[in-house]
Symmetry: C2
Subunit: 205 residues, 2 copies
Amino acid sequence: MRTSTDRRRGYASGDARRERILHIATQEFAEHGYRGTSLARVAERAGLSQPGLLHHFRTKEQLLVAVLELRDQRDMERFFADEAAGGLDLLTALVRVVEHNSRTPELVRLFVVLTSEAVTADHPAQDWARARYERLRAWVADALRRAAGAGEVRPGLDADATAARIIALMDGLQTQWLLDPDAIDMPALFRAHIDELLATLRPRA
Amino acid sequence: MRTSTDRRRGYASGDARRERILHIATQEFAEHGYRGTSLARVAERAGLSQPGLLHHFRTKEQLLVAVLELRDQRDMERFFADEAAGGLDLLTALVRVVEHNSRTPELVRLFVVLTSEAVTADHPAQDWARARYERLRAWVADALRRAAGAGEVRPGLDADATAARIIALMDGLQTQWLLDPDAIDMPALFRAHIDELLATLRPRA
DNA sequence: GTCTATATAGCGATAGAC
DNA sequence: GTCTATCGCTATATAGAC
């Protein structure tokens, strides 16, 4: 929460501190989950006291929400800066996303941990997780439908089902990969799936 | 921990109580994860005090281990009683597993929650989760290799990669399904994947 | 085998001074 | 905006009586 005094002064230090807190909180939530993360530890690593931290984020839950919002925003920027992939190009763009993910395990861990923690009772990230999946599925399904409309795809494809399965595969591979990175070549496995999918999707393939 | 006194008396009540504790602990771990579960609540629901609970399981971690061991054992019994599926029959058997899972959401939740919680730092279920995936992958991959040896499958199949992808899909669908059961028809989506896989696998398909 | 009582520690959040 | 001090609560685990 910025005050008008901050704003008059340019609020540089306030925003920098806020950013730093969010950065560290992201790491801690990824490492220990929401329940396993302690505000005192986040505060200590950010170089302020625990009540000092709660001056910027009134509750632990608000800190989590801020972390999730920042991540969603950054991911969107990253993807749409890459390209506005319509139709089947989206699938090869997703392969690049997975390749990028394999270089940032801590962010992958954040999503895996929080998404699954969210299926427990009364978890503050529940609505976020549900909405995120809905958005992802709709996004992939729409691209498939556009591809079908453009004749890139043989008719009879169930776009929603295919979208759900692509996302499920991405997620499932992430968990196996985080637990045993040497045994699981996540990008190769995902690429193989997309390649096979494209082979069956294309008309007269 | 049974004592010799229990054993002489037939230890009926002791074992029954132990079973009851494990049953309730399974539900609690599924609902709240390991970190979110309180021994006091498990004890209360089991009808004894919290130190009374710790008489049967010396630590919270040992209670978790006992729950996981019991689940693994029950699942094995269930599957191998169903049939000893070798070769490609295993894949249709997996479809039946997913159908069964869709009728026991709480057990699915247990695995989803604990497996993902296990990717956090210093989690007591980490070794269990890693070993379980290794076992599952080897099991599916071996069946695929047997199918290839019997000529059921066209040559050139990467059994390990295919196994990892099948399991990843099962897992990813579970998460989406738990968050939004009405939007995700988990068994149908998994069956569709297996059907397509079988179509590409069979020689001259 | 189970209890009460308690040790010990950590948690999130608030009050109020500066 | 940040601090110290503290409240109120919950947690796991132990001691010792019965």
